[in-house]
Amino acid sequence: MSLFINLTLNGITNGMIFAAVALGLVFIWRATHIVNFSQGSMAMFTTYIAVTLLDRHINYWLVFAAALVAGLVMGGVIELVLIRPLRGEHALNPVIVTLGLFILLEGLAGSIFGVGNRSFPPAFSQAGLTFGHSTIAFSHFDVFILAAVVILMLGTLVLFRATNMGLRMRAAAFAPEVARLLGVRVGRILTLGWALAAVAGSLAGLLVAPTVSFSPNFMDLILVYAFTAAVVGGLDSPVGALVGGLVTGLSLSYVGGYLGSSLEPLGALAILMVVLSARPEGIFSRPAPRRV
């Protein structure tokens, strides 16, 4: 029984991290209709910036904030310099560029920061919380992860549904030409979308890093699972990213715990196949109206 509980808690924690990265993917998809394959690498890069600052004994929370700001700037610059010049002709071009960026960033991180494994200090204690005499596999840090991702998701929801900026972003993604004719500065909106998505990614990187020994490719597998989460939940739904993340995290945890950890990737594949055959657009995606 306690194995089940521990696996569940473990699954929730991991699921939250997948959700954070997935939220960045959802953001870029909703704001720009591009799939960003470099989402994980961007997060990795800002995490390296953070650990470099921590090595100089700078206050943890300042470093945390600096990493998020670095993400903001990085996302904006990438959109302006790499993605924008390629828009228009073929929808796949920007996507291929993100693949190239993925590879570039890992190489760059390796040469700037070194390829060895590093450790990253957690924001809060990673000791299990105690209730009376029993300790559960859920630490203060895990509570922080949970809270941070839920806040991120709520923030994203509010932005898209209730603000004028969110309206501009949705219009710019669905119908950029019409949006321009209505005075929306679509270019700036796209840059902002990438910048905010990069912040979500940076946050995810900071949450993951203390739980693994990290190296330039520490986010790779997480990106794969985050894609699973995003596709399961519906690539255009923030709530979907959270639920997808939880579903993926829990399933992988159970598969790994009961069947063996080498079967985890197969578990992810199985989830994808089941969900996509039942509901191809994702669980929470709004079905597109059919033309009759």
Binding site: N164, L167, R168, R170, A171, F174, A175, E177, V178, A179, R180, L181, L182, G183, V184, R185, V186, R286, P289
Partner: protein, 235 residues
């Protein structure tokens, strides 16, 4: 006043407009007519900035438009309803309308502008929160026009508003356009295939064939010129 002077536009090797010249005076409706492929849509898209010209000038109220971005041209008071209306289906009616007001108005003013639009189009008011994908063709046209008007433009460019609409609905839309031009001194450039309807509400008319202006004269003269009508307008 909209001033188009010797405008030439090409899409790669294809020359869409050759030396097009005409004016649209303030408070008037100017009909732009011609067969399919004549270059009418290209003309509007060049004025609103979606398409770049090769040579010639477009200016509005003395301000040179060529070289400005689409978003900045909109901020000069020019509103373009594109071919096919451009209703954003994934947004609600209210969201579509609000979108046009964001660059200009604060919350209070926005409320009153939207109320005005809803008064003009009560069918839209009833279904504010519905997705725009649920609208019929005529309702979409009203939404598209309402949205264009929500930024309080001085120049309105309409690309085939009657496309796909029943004759009765077309008549209603045309009457509305005429009334708006008269009452608010709105300048309207109306591209149309439905020549009779367009000429019935326009003061001026420009006929384009294969990218060149065949004639730019009063609507009455163009309507009366039967040979011209047979040659270029199909009746």
């Amino acid at each position: 006043m909209l001033d188009v002077e010797d405008l030439s536009v090409s899409y790669g090797a294809v020359q869409a407009l050759h030396g097009v010249t005409f004016q649209a005076r303030e408070g008037t409706v100017t009909a732009v007519l011609g067969a399919n492929g004549a270059g009418k849509t290209t003309l509007l898209r060049t004025v609103s900035g979606l398409v770049k010209r090769q040579s010639g000038n477009v200016s509005y109220g003395g301000v040179e438009l060529t070289g400005l971005s689409v978003e900045n041209i909109v901020r000069l008071g020019i509103s373009h309803v594109p071919e096919g209306r451009g209703v954003i289906e994934e947004l609600t009616i209210d969201e579509n309308l609000r979108l046009g007001t964001l660059w200009q108005f604060g919350r209070q003013e926005r409320r009153s502008v939207l109320d005005e639009i809803y008064e003009l189009f009560p069918q839209l008011a009833q279904r504010k929160r519905r997705m725009a994908s649920t609208l019929s063709g005529g309702e979409r046209q009203m939404l598209a026009i309402g949205r264009a008007l929500s930024s309080k433009p001085k120049l309105l460019l309409l690309d085939e508003p009657s496309l796909g609409l029943a004759p009765l609905v077309t008549a209603q839309i045309m009457a509305l356009i005429q009334e708006l031009a008269r009452e608010t001194r709105l300048t309207v450039v109306l591209v149309e295939q439905n020549v009779r309807s367009a000429l019935s509400i326009a003061e001026e008319a420009v006929v384009i064939n294969l990218g060149r202006v065949v004639i730019a004269d009063t609507a009455a003269s163009v309507a009366a010129d039967t040979e011209l009508r047979h040659l270029y307008l199909g009746f």
